[in-house]
């Protein structure tokens, strides 16, 4: 996304008003200083990401009243995200100016008071709304009235802010709906001198320079995207002049540039950033026009390469066009094209992908590779609200998947193959420890998803506690390894009829009878409880075509808008897999 001047957003917002998108979010800003321009910028930036963003900006410096008054406009607005933006002058009051050298005890007391005040505000918001709360941390003051002697005192204003930030972080770590936005780092990145213009502050308590507001909002979008399940899952990389300098086919193994010298360092840095993302669950793929043998030799043997063959879940090095390679990568990895970020140094290739597959985020790269790493670091696309064990194990799971595909191509018929896999399914009901992963799947699963209803983690928790609702999930393993929790279902119980509100399956395990087995097991559970019929729904979206005939093929019958299964009928569970139920 290209970041523009503030005046662009303020004007553009009037034009985009009529555009409608499927994804919607309600964003509230509450703060202690002037936040004009925030609403317009986030609406326009969201629109560029195909999100309808509705905003609310609380009256100037009314954050206490807005939170404490339960009939406030903030609560009436029903936000999905609240940004609580309090500046360090407001929090420090007079201490911002006057530091004493021996007031340690008073300062500690002050710190406790301020922390209690803030955590109390956050607790009230959590009680009154299901909204995510993002609280900005505080900027460490760059001036001390003590001058160079500041470093000799035991506890001063800087320590108050450091401790307050630390305590807020600890507080938010244990609160699922609350996140800390590291504004102190934003100020470090852009520089206090560029952010805070005293004339603007005196004029209208404007504390962030106009043309940096769009950069701040871009970082805020890093929260919006994962809430809507729009975070990216995969980085697709070109090779020559992207992962290393020069062209291996022309300059040879020894002629490529990567290593501890000026032209080689950028690529090491870039690869390290990529590798760190992959360790937290982002999958990597290669899409390169090259001689496979030359390129693989670099990847396997070059002493300074950081990324090796095992880091990539899919490798397309050939002379096919990049568009079909890209589509194959998405297909093999079972991910949507819209969850891909693409890096290629060649502007022609970039233009090609942008034109033909606009849903891919194709990154503009400068000619000089020195900035590649920083460009990647600045992307807001890879944020997740939770990093689960499944994420960190994902790469290994894809490796197992490739072994499965090898077995499939060496086995003659599908049934034989499925038998050989020794699939075991473990179903868990209302399991509190799985809520994080369940909500992650609910937010991001598109293809095998009967109703595509999106629920936030707080709602799932309520369902788990609700006696009339079952929240189920299933772990799957086979001879090649575990796939972790890859299925979720939500059932609403009535006395004679159960309704399947949600049923989804991670697409990497589709088509092995697992979906039939889990559905069959649900039907068996219902039958055991004396239920007569199961009602299900299919809501067609742009992406869940593969699931269209699932209910019908299983034996559900159409009844108006719904699909019905009478439990007196035979319940099918494929016999080649094992299903276990943990209640």
């Amino acid at each position: 996304m290209e970041i523009k001047q503030l005046s662009y957003y303020i004007n553009e917002v009037k034009i985009i008003k009529s555009e409608k998108h499927n994804k919607k979010i309600r964003v509230a800003f509450i703060g202690s200083s002037t936040l004009n321009g925030f609403e317009e910028t986030i609406q326009v930036q969201c629109n560029e990401e195909k999100i309808n963003c509705i905003t609310y900006n609380s009256p100037y410096n009314q954050f206490n009243q807005e939170i404490l008054n339960e009939n406030s406009n903030l609560y009436k607005f029903k936000p999905d995200i609240i940004f609580l933006l309090i500046d360090n002058r407001t929090i420090l009051e007079n201490l911002f100016y006057f530091t004493n050298i021996d007031s340690k005890i008073e300062y500690k007391k002050f710190l406790e008071e301020k922390f209690n005040q803030l955590s109390n505000l956050i607790n009230i918001i959590t009680k009154k709304t299901k909204s995510k709360i993002i609280i900005m941390n505080f900027v460490i003051p760059t001036y001390s009235s003590l001058g160079i002697f500041e470093s000799k005192i035991e506890y001063g204003v800087k320590e108050i802010i450091l401790d307050l930030n630390k305590k807020l972080k600890e507080f938010s770590r244990n609160k699922d709906s609350c996140y800390i936005y590291d504004f102190n780092s934003f100020v470090t990145k852009f520089g206090e001198k560029n952010i805070l213009d005293y004339k603007k502050m005196n004029y209208g308590d404007i504390q962030i320079d106009f043309n940096l507001i769009p950069y701040l909002i871009y970082e805020f979008l890093g929260y919006v995207k994962p809430i809507l399940g729009l975070n990216k899952k995969c980085i697709v990389l070109d090779l020559d002049n992207t992962l290393w300098g020069n062209i291996v086919g022309e300059d040879g193994f020894e002629g490529i540039k990567i290593g501890p010298y000026p032209e080689g360092r950028s690529f090491i840095e870039f690869q390290k950033v990529i590798k760190s993302l992959s360790e937290n669950g982002i999958i990597l793929a290669i899409n390169s026009k090259n001689n496979q043998k030359d390129a693989m030799k670099v990847i396997n043997e070059h002493p300074y390469m950081i990324l090796r063959k095992n880091d990539f879940s899919c490798i397309k090095i050939n002379w096919n066009d990049k568009i079909s390679n890209m589509k194959e990568i998405a297909k093999e990895l079972n991910i949507g094209l819209d969850s891909i970020v693409f890096f290629d140094d060649d502007p022609v290739n970039r233009e090609l992908i942008k034109m033909s597959i606009p849903e891919i985020n194709t990154i503009e790269l400068p000619k000089d590779p020195s900035n590649y790493a920083q460009i990647l670091r600045n992307l807001n696309d890879f944020n997740v609200l939770k990093i689960t064990q499944d994420d960190t194990k994902r790469r290994i799971m894809y490796e197992q998947e490739q072994n499965r595909q090898k077995l499939e191509s060496s086995t003659e018929n599908l049934n034989e193959y499925l038998k050989k896999l020794n699939i075991k399914i473990k179903i868990k009901l209302d399991d509190k420890f799985s809520i994080a992963r369940i909500s992650q799947l609910i937010l991001k699963t598109n293809q095998f998803n009967l109703t595509t209803k999106r629920y936030q983690e707080e709602e799932i928790k309520q369902f788990v506690d609700d006696q009339t609702i079952i929240v189920g999930c299933a772990e799957v393993e086979d001879k090649f390894g575990e796939s972790g929790i890859t299925n979720v279902f939500i059932i609403k119980k009535n006395s004679k009829e159960w309704v399947i509100d949600t049923f989804l399956l991670s697409c990497r395990i589709m088509g092995r009878g697992i979906e039939e087995a889990i559905l069959g097991k649900i039907l068996e559970i219902a039958k055991d409880k004396g239920i007569e019929r199961i009602k299900a729904n299919f809501i067609l979206t742009e992406k869940n075509q593969p699931t269209k005939n699932f209910l019908k093929n299983y034996g559900f019958e159409k009844d108006g808008e719904n699909w019905i299964f009478l439990l007196k009928n035979k319940i099918k569970i494929p016999d080649y897999l094992e299903v276990e139920l943990n209640e």
């Binding site: 001047q5 303020i10 004029y203």
Partner: protein
């Protein structure tokens, strides 16, 4: 030249066409001109002409004519080619 430059900044900030802008343009006759966008305008004029307005000068501005006067005091003649 400078007049064009000034008018196009104003037009860009308030999202109106350049030929709607003249020295009498003010918050009354330009819909998008409010205290906040007025300040954005000041900010853009400062950076485009590489000058700084004092807060007193900033508070004096009621129309485009005022910008011309203050810029002239700072050695920038808007009406000169």
């Amino acid at each position: 030249m400078n007049e064009n430059k000034l008018f196009s900044i104003v037009a860009k900030v308030f999202n109106v066409s350049v030929n709607q802008i003249n020295y009498q343009s003010n918050p009354e006759n330009i819909e998008n001109w409010d205290s906040f966008t007025g300040y954005i305008l000041l900010d853009e004029i400062e950076s485009e002409f590489n000058v700084k307005f004092s807060i007193e000068e900033a508070l004096q501005i009621k129309n485009i004519e005022n910008f011309k006067t203050i810029l002239k005091e700072k050695g920038i003649d808007i009406e000169k080619e």
